[in-house]
């Protein structure tokens, strides 16, 4: 292949390449350091001003220095050039520098390519339903830019006035994209997806909210000010009643007198359980938290699938940190009974307390246990103590001292779920009853449109689990005793001042919250059906389309058939617009006239119009006066001012032509 000639780009091509690029920058503008889009936009303005000759373009040395400085700037800011944000910032800046040196058509194409790249970066970053139309719009702009860049206005062409203007480019790009839509949907549905990733781009270190693996008094109340969604739960069949909606997360065993921690006991045995009560089948769509907790309704029965595992205390842990919305299906029971005794080791472990702390509460615990007949009665006594002891439920409790439990029980008596759970478990352990703190969420908002629960960070909660002989681990929520309404109502209802102002505002406007519920339902549908469309969904869809036991082969066949159908359709549709238009009646009879004359040896030259032909005829064959007048009539009918009765005249002309006979020689 010979080297193609260097073609200077058109001015309009430059404008459009710049438009596409700026649109790409805008798509990514909130995910890169603020100076990068500014720099890129300055380059765009610089280039456009240079095109209208009000500014000079930088020379190669300055451009090289600029490029190096910008790469260094990105490297310093991100400490790496690998990673989505750093890569996007780099792409943005280098696209701008490329635009600065854009002269040829090829350069303009490269800038449009960079704009498409920026689209990809934006897609990898976020896939919201709100942004999807923006992405489509950007793809459209890029295609139109391709059309304009590839169009070279010609100096010698006589038809330049006809022009392929911006509007034509946009319309053409839109049409082409609409034509490709069926294929896009077909490929989207049938193109085989991969089960996992080849490699991972390091994600930016975004601060995500969520439960951590420790709990100290007050840590959960920080979380409850957040209105962000923790997860959504879709139930098959009826959902559990409000008092059973405990979403179990990290289980905390180790207590240093102030902070509860998870344990590193990985070798401990899971106690076998007997499941009681109804079975709940549900799916959870977990929002990214950068943690590894999978939340579940109380106790999970059966396997959670390959992506997560159980710890010995029936906590679900993901094998990877949750960095994107994750779906999983579970079966749960909210009531269980242990079938074996708690192992001595576990018993020892879950009754441990720091010796040097909280002496007063431990003393109280032992005293209370001694006055009760059984562990169960003791649990009731402690709960009763919380209920009647002047305790109050608040999100803004005073700070607790070194002996946090003593301080809480005997001094402040103001606390949040964390305080109650911590104090309660501490009291249990002091009396020799195995107990542990469970963190997670309580309740959730029912979305009637999408028929699912939205569980928010503000629903974060902590409670206790206590080992009772004959029953095993039993869920006890001391907070519910102090503030029974917590079971039925969210934090927002109980402590409206605790949450942020916008969330409170939304909460107080029923129409707004119903609107938001609708919006959330749409988003959930989008996430479930579009964003999370997977290989399994593909197979399920095929099954619904009537393929029994579908597999990869059926997928391939369905895809191939669709592809061939689409190709035929496109070929037919695009080809159709390229076919000749059938000439109208007047033109047809004019052609018939010309054919008659041709047979008589009088051929109209391609370049001759009817008048010129008539003049020629008159010279060659003066006897053909009627033909001459017919040609005149045709010319009037075709090019003259449209008059009423033209149709009749056309018919007359038709008739005259069919009656006409032309002799070969005069």
């Amino acid at each position: 292949m010979a080297k193609p000639p260097v073609i200077d780009g058109s001015r309009r091509g430059l404008d459009w390449a710049a438009i596409a690029f700026v649109a790409g920058v805008l798509l990514n503008i909130d995910r890169v350091p603020v100076w990068t889009p500014i720099a890129a936009l300055i380059f765009v303005v610089w280039r456009l001003m240079a095109a209208s000759r009000s500014l000079r373009l930088p020379g190669t040395p300055l451009r090289s220095v600029l490029a190096l400085a910008l790469v260094a700037g990105v490297a310093v800011r991100f400490h790496t050039l690998n990673g989505l944000s750093a890569g996007t910032a780099l792409l943005l800046l280098m696209g701008g520098v490329k635009l600065l040196e854009t002269r040829t058509q090829r350069d303009q194409f490269i800038v449009v390519g960079a704009a498409v790249f920026l689209l990809l970066a934006a897609c990898l970053d976020r896939q919201n339903i709100v942004r999807a139309p923006l992405y489509l719009l950007h793809a459209w702009l890029c295609c139109a830019a391709l059309a304009v860049v590839s169009y070279m206005p010609s100096a010698s062409s006589t038809a330049t006035r006809l022009g392929f203007d911006n509007r034509a480019a946009l319309v053409l790009a839109a049409r082409s994209l609409v034509f490709s839509l069926p294929l896009a949907i077909l490929l989207f549905v049938f193109f085989p997806r991969l089960p996992g990733a080849f490699w991972a781009i390091p994600r930016s270190d975004e601060a995500l909210t969520g439960l951590s693996d420790t709990m100290s008094p007050g840590s959960i109340s920080q979380l409850t000010t957040s209105y962000e969604v923790a997860f959504r739960a879709h139930f098959e069949g009826s959902p559990p009643p409000p008092q059973e909606r405990y979403w179990r997360g990290p289980v905390l065993h180790e207590f240093d007198g102030y902070t509860w921690k998870r344990t590193a006991r990985s070798l401990a045995r899971m106690e076998p359980l007997q499941y009681l009560g109804p079975e709940y089948h549900y799916r959870i769509a977990l929002e990214p938290s950068a943690q590894r907790w999978w939340f579940s309704l109380d106790t999970v029965t059966g396997s959670p699938g390959p992506k997560a595992f159980f710890t010995y205390d029936y906590q679900l842990v993901s094998s990877e940190p949750v960095t994107e919305t994750t779906n999983y299906t579970l079966v749960s029971h909210t009531s269980t009974r242990a079938t074996v005794q708690l192992s001595q080791q576990s018993r020892r472990y879950d009754t441990r307390l720091p010796n040097d702390r909280n002496p007063k509460s431990r003393e109280l615990a032992i005293k209370m246990r001694n006055s009760e007949g059984s562990d169960g009665a003791y649990v009731s006594a402690v709960l009763n103590y919380f209920r009647t002891g002047g305790f109050e439920y608040t999100l803004t409790p005073p700070r607790l001292g070194f002996n946090s439990v003593d301080d809480f029980i005997f001094n402040t008596r103001l606390g949040f779920c964390g305080h109650y759970a911590s104090a309660f478990v501490s009291m249990m352990r002091a009396a020799g009853i195995p107990a542990r703190v469970v963190t997670g969420y309580l309740g959730g908002e029912w979305n009637p449109i999408g028929r699912y629960f939205i569980v928010r960070q503000s629903d974060a909660h902590s409670w206790a689990e206590v080992w009772l002989e004959g029953r095993g681990w039993t869920r006890i929520d001391p907070t519910a005793v102090v503030e029974p309404e917590r079971l039925n109502r969210g934090i927002l209802d109980l402590l409206p001042n605790a949450v942020s102002a916008p969330a409170r505002f939304v909460w107080r406007q029923p129409w707004l919250s119903s609107l938001l519920q609708r919006w959330d339902a749409i988003n959930t549908w989008w996430n479930d059906r579009v964003v999370k469309f997977s290989y399994d969904d593909q197979l399920r869809l095929l099954e619904r389309l009537g393929f029994t036991s579908p597999g990869a082969q059926e997928l391939g066949w369905a895809f191939g058939a669709g592809l061939v159908g689409w190709l035929l359709w496109i070929a037919w549709h695009v080809g159709r617009s390229g076919t000749r238009v059938r000439p109208d009646r007047l033109a047809r009879s004019y052609m018939a006239l010309c054919r008659k004359l041709d047979r008589a040896g009088l051929t109209r030259q391609t370049h001759q119009g009817p008048i010129a032909f008539a003049g020629d005829l008159l010279q060659q064959r003066p006897d053909l006066e009627p033909v001459h007048s017919l040609l005149q009539r045709y010319s009037e009918l075709r090019y003259g001012r449209p008059e009423p009765g033209a149709a009749a005249k056309v018919r007359d002309f038709e008739r005259a032509v069919s009656r006409l006979t032309v002799s070969a020689r005069a």
Binding site: P4, L120, C123, L146, L162, A184, L187, H607
Partner: protein, 332 residues
């Protein structure tokens, strides 16, 4: 070096094969499916690579939106392939006329296209052989013209071997093209060159008149500049006032009658003789004189006017090539 040689050979072979495959063409010519070729352009290949990258990224991160956009743009690419093909398919090359030109100048080959479809065809570019192409836009049910310059190194007939019609419209991702092997010829007059004075007025025995004086005859008016006109006759003052190039024309009434004889210039050698004759013909015509031409095997009666000038110059162009019996040369 060797590679470029190989490439040239390959191209020549390809050209031969295509000529054989398509057969000779005659105008008007409708571009049929069978003769259209289509391949992605460099931009198209780049775009496809971009799509592959998007696909890999989309699959790797199970990113549905990226995948959807990839598929959308894949479809778009295939659609543009059809559109590009359609842009050329069915277009008609209705005329290819080359105005005669003088040797060592570029002649102009004017191509006329017709578009009898209801959709405009943009950017139909044409070129001679492998030369760079020039685009034209054809409106729906309309015509378009491209003017190509054809180098004319020496007098005689330049055969335009093959035309290259090409389009990358609408999106520049594909290139559809065809070759046209129509018999297109361009007549090349000898270069008007030589300093010998014109032979004496044939009807007037009074002797030679200088060229300068010849211009001082009866003023007729101005006419547009024609190829070969002497710059001396151009009305430069008018040109300076933004008028087109005009040539001052003088009356032929009572004017000279000259016979330009090939044989009288015997010493110069054939080509130089022809060039000198061409010079005289051009000058005599622009002076408004009547002139005849005497060639070894042919005599053109004295006359004047554009047509006469063409006959004379064409006769000069074809001296020694007449065995090929070109129309214009032998008809008079």
């Amino acid at each position: 070096m060797k590679l470029s040689l190989m490439r040239t050979r390959l191209r020549a072979r390809m050209a031969r094969w295509i000529r054989k495959r398509q057969g000779p063409d005659s105008l008007p010519l409708t571009l049929a499916r069978r003769r259209l070729y289509i391949l992605p352009t460099r931009t198209g290949v780049g775009f496809c690579l971009l799509l592959v990258l998007m696909l890999v990224a989309g699959l790797n991160y199970a990113n549905s939106i990226a995948l959807f956009l990839t598929f959308l743009l894949t479809g778009f690419t295939l659609v543009t392939m059809h559109q590009c093909h359609r842009n050329l398919l069915g277009a008609q090359l209705v005329g290819a006329t080359a105005q005669p030109t003088f040797a060592q100048r570029d002649g102009t080959l004017s191509l006329a296209f017709e578009n009898s479809s209801a959709v405009a065809r943009f950017q139909i570019a044409a070129g001679v052989g492998d030369a760079p192409t020039i685009p034209a836009d054809l409106p729906a049910n309309g015509f378009g013209r491209v003017e190509l310059s054809v180098p004319a190194p020496k007098r005689g007939i330049v055969q335009v071997d093959r035309l290259h019609l090409i389009t990358t419209h609408p999106f520049g991702l594909f290139r559809a093209w065809t070759w046209v092997h129509a018999p297109i010829e361009m007549l090349v007059y000898p270069r008007p060159h030589g300093l010998l004075p014109m032979p004496a007025d044939y009807g007037n025995k009074s002797g030679e008149r200088s060229l300068i004086n010849a211009g001082a005859d009866e003023w007729l008016g101005l006419r547009p500049f024609r190829d070969g006109d002497s710059p001396r006759q151009v009305d430069w003052k008018a040109y300076a006032r933004d008028a087109p190039l005009l040539v001052k024309e003088y009356s032929a009434a009572g004017a000279e009658l000259r016979i330009f004889d090939f044989a009288t210039l015997g010493k110069l050698g054939t080509e130089a003789q022809l060039e000198q004759l061409a010079r005289w013909i051009v000058d005599a015509e622009s002076n408004g004189e009547r002139y005849g031409l005497k060639l070894p095997n042919r005599f053109i009666k004295p006359d004047h006017g554009a047509e006469h000038r063409h006959h004379c110059l064409a006769a000069l162009a074809l001296v020694g090539l007449e065995d090929t019996s070109r129309g214009e040369a032998s008809s008079h």
